[in-house]
């Protein structure tokens, strides 16, 4: 179990992490979601004892990482953003080094072989790390975190630089590991976190803006009220027709995707479904619908949605309060900027 209480980290004037509090239970896979520079890596570095927090506390299975670092570090396997690989060693030498470094007690040969089979690096076991591809390096980094079979795994962007096949493999692996380990992983890609995690914490500018189950946050993403429709028909008339449908808030013709055919971004009032009506009207006029899809929310949209205080299902009320506060702060800053410009 990991308990984080009011964690704050300053880099000079800049607050990289601001008053972060959360708990990760045993056997949980927690996803850390946030744009680059949100404080994900900083938080992970604090949890693993690589850097210290300015304020607050991080308990690893009840042990304070600052007070008893050696004991707490024993519980953690860490894959940093850049895998800490000695390029001049072979995979075999490297994993044996890590094994010795962690003062591992498990049967050496069997344990290392198990790990290699798990992350699929058995075929490069005797190659020098320098010559491996990025995907293999990443997996050696993963293997390194698994040495000693620590109960907690902290993985900082584990799928960065991998090809789609490898990404799927790593995700499956993380899910598998999640059955026996407590896992924290970070990413700035929403779908990745969605695919692997039980719970998601979204952080931005060092503060938690949402802390909820994946299910709830996914609902938020798919309960979307924007449609993109590609219609073969005269542009102005199509726009007029769409506006006529009850429930449509705005319509905007997007790019000309095919000669004479436009895509239309339609925003619909909350809870309205206009797809059937739209189909009927287009058919009545002998135009054609060539494509229709919901816009997928990007991470930025979710941030906006959450920070705008829309009807978001948040189990953590504190987080939404914080989000609103932050928004206020942001708008204040904006108006200040404007004033100074004037």
């Amino acid at each position: 179990m990991i308990e984080v209480k009011n964690l704050t980290k300053h880099y000079g004037q800049k607050k990289a992490v601001n008053d972060l509090s959360f708990t990760v239970n045993d056997g949980e896979i927690l996803g850390f979601l946030g744009p680059n520079g949100a404080g994900k890596s900083t938080t992970m570095n604090i949890l693993t004892g690589y850097i210290s927090s300015t304020e607050g506390q991080a308990l690893i299975n009840g042990v304070d990482i600052l007070e008893e670092p050696t004991k707490a570090k024993k519980e953690i396997g860490y894959l940093p953003e850049l895998p800490p690989l000695y390029l001049d060693m072979t995979v075999r030498e490297y994993l044996n080094f890590i094994y010795d470094l962690k003062k591992c007690k498990l049967p050496r040969k069997a344990h290392l072989e198990d790990i290699c089979a798990l992350v699929k690096i058995t075929d490069v076991y005797d190659r020098i790390i320098k010559n491996l591809s990025k995907g293999y390096k990443q997996r050696v980094g993963m293997a390194q975190a698994l040495v000693g079979n620590p109960p907690i795994l902290i993985l900082d962007e584990p799928t960065v630089g991998l090809d789609p096949m490898q990404i799927i493999e790593i995700r499956t692996l993380i899910k598998k590991l999640g059955k026996k380990h407590t896992v924290i992983l970070s990413s700035h890609i929403l779908s990745e976190i969605q695919a692997t995690c039980d719970r998601i914490i979204i952080i931005d500018h060092g503060t938690i803006v949402a802390d909820d189950t994946t299910e709830n946050l996914t609902k938020l993403v798919t309960n979307d009220n924007k449609l993109i429709v590609r219609i073969d028909g005269p542009k102005e008339e199509v726009e007029k027709m769409i506006k006529g449908i009850s429930g449509v808030v705005t319509v905007r013709a997007d790019m000309e995707r095919e000669p004479g055919i436009f895509e239309y971004d339609i925003e619909v009032a909350e809870g309205k479904d206009i797809r059937r009506e739209l189909f009927k009207r287009v058919a009545d006029r002998s135009w054609y619908i060539l494509g229709m899809k919901n816009t997928e929310l990007t991470l930025e949209d979710i941030f906006l949605k959450i920070t705008m205080g829309e009807k978001v299902v948040l189990s953590n009320e504190k987080a939404s309060e914080k989000a609103v506060e932050e928004l206020d702060k942001m708008s204040e800053e904006n108006s200040e900027e404007k004033e100074s410009e004037e």
């Binding site: 690589y50 940093p80 800490p84 000695y86 080094f97 010795d100 470094l101 003062k103």
Partner: protein, 235 residues
Amino acid sequence: MGAIFRREMKAYFTSPIAYIFIAVFYVYTGYFFVMGNIYSGTTEMSNLFATVFTIMMFLLPLLTMRLFSEEKKQKTEQALLTAPVNLFEIVFGKYLAAMVVFLISMGIYIIYALVLYGMAGNLSIATFFGNMLGLLLLGMAFISAGIFASVLTENQIVSAIVGFIFNMLMYMIDVIAASVTVAPIKSVLQSLSFYTRYYEFTTGIINIGSVIFFLSVAFIFNFLTVRVLEKRRWG
């Protein structure tokens, strides 16, 4: 500690650095051995030990420059610092590896002594032992200073230069002391002089004060290295 020591040893001998270090050491001391002992027909080795001081100032930083700088640059220090090991173990493992390479270099002196003994049939064992002890202690101090330089920067070249400056300063204490006129400061500086203390060893005098002095310098630099690693966490 064992793991770090073994890794560093391997790194020294899979890269050319240890070989170059040892070769330069052998060539340099070998030249003075041939000129100063064989051609001059003397078994007096003190000169041979005295001349090595200068080359060690230059050479030892090359041996230590990589130790922490490279870890920081390649981000591998993250593995070390998040592993369940004490910072002292990390520093000491690296220190020991550099010391072993240095000891291998130093070992050539035993061969020189044996050659002289074989040629002349007599050799002052006590003087030789004193000389070796002095060299060992000097190496311990210089290597700890070099490691400290290496923990300060992620650039190996900078690390080597800073290490060299440290050694230079230790060497220059004499020069500085000579120009100071205030008596108490002068005597303090003189007692800190590396060269005077080392030179004493080469004449065959083992001064316990000097032994403790060099050991303390080595300890202080290693301690500072640990503190820098510790402090980096708080930065």
